[in-house]
């Protein structure tokens, strides 16, 4: 996949966001400076296995949740 000049709108952690076209999940994480091993990705309500991040394209209108572990009881 190659990034394009055009942008697309996605929903990222509940907020509308404009990102470059042509992203994979992996390249999006890179752009956000997130280590793939530190987050879990939910794409349109389905959990995405880590070994698929580089293969799965991000599409206009996708809803993506990026979660991780924080302190809790």
């Amino acid at each position: 996949m190659r990034l394009t000049e055009e942008t697309m709108r996605i929903r990222l952690n509940g907020k509308e966001r404009e990102v470059q076209g042509g992203h994979t999940v992996r390249s999006l994480l890179d752009a956000l400076e997130l280590q793939p091993g530190m987050v879990v990705v939910e794409l349109n309500r389905d959990i995405l296995e880590r070994d698929r991040y580089a293969d799965v394209p991000v599409h206009e209108g996708d809803s993506i949740e990026l979660v991780h572990f924080v302190g809790g009881g």
Binding site: N13, L32, H68, F69, V70, G71, G73
Partner: protein, 255 residues
Amino acid sequence: MALVIGGVEFTSRLIVGTGKYKTNQVMIDAIRASEAEMVTVAVRRVDLDRTKEEAILHHLSPSEFFLLANTAGCYTADDAVRYARLARAAGFNEFVKLEVIGDEATLLPDVAATLVAARTLSSEGFKVMAYTNDDLVTALRLEDAGCVAVMPLASPIGSGLGVVNPYFIREIKRRLDVPVIVDAGVGTASDACVTMEQGVDGVLMNTALAAADDPVRMAHAMRHAVVAGRLAYLAGRMPAREIAVPSSPTRGMLD
């Protein structure tokens, strides 16, 4: 003797949370002082604005501690199942601390929803440790649902009121085969000790350490209290009676 939960052996009977500490350094120092092996973590959205480095794994090594992800903050069975699946996808283990809250004011569990989620998660291969109230019938149903541990509260989450109903805690322990871990409500070391004296297999706490003036010192106290309570339970206490009985011989006194 070790505590075995879902096939995993633990030396410590104390499980601690990682929330609400003033600094990450105090958290890690307190957890080490507690000598807990299992620690709970929560699943939350990554803060993309990065106002602070909040990822717990930057501070807590999964090779040093057994991570128990919780579903805290969930109010429906569906949400709890979603959070549990996300936690498992992080790739550490199949365990989840199932928590479905039913009332915002008291944070008491929704036991009907907890049962539904427990059945779903158990059927998906999760090792479910279910937070519940001190109700025996619910505890039995959770065991039937396949939970690897049942975790009745001592008193409401974060209240620090200690064990409000020791009789029900004892009754739950007497009737269940899976480990019974008292989760929530312990405020200070004596509460932890009294909890363990009921014969339960372990105790889980967070606020009692995090909100102490000196969490590290309190963690030391809790470690001793849990061991003391366990030993006292195993030793078998003397009967309590509301009369005095002298400890020294009544015979052999001088005229």
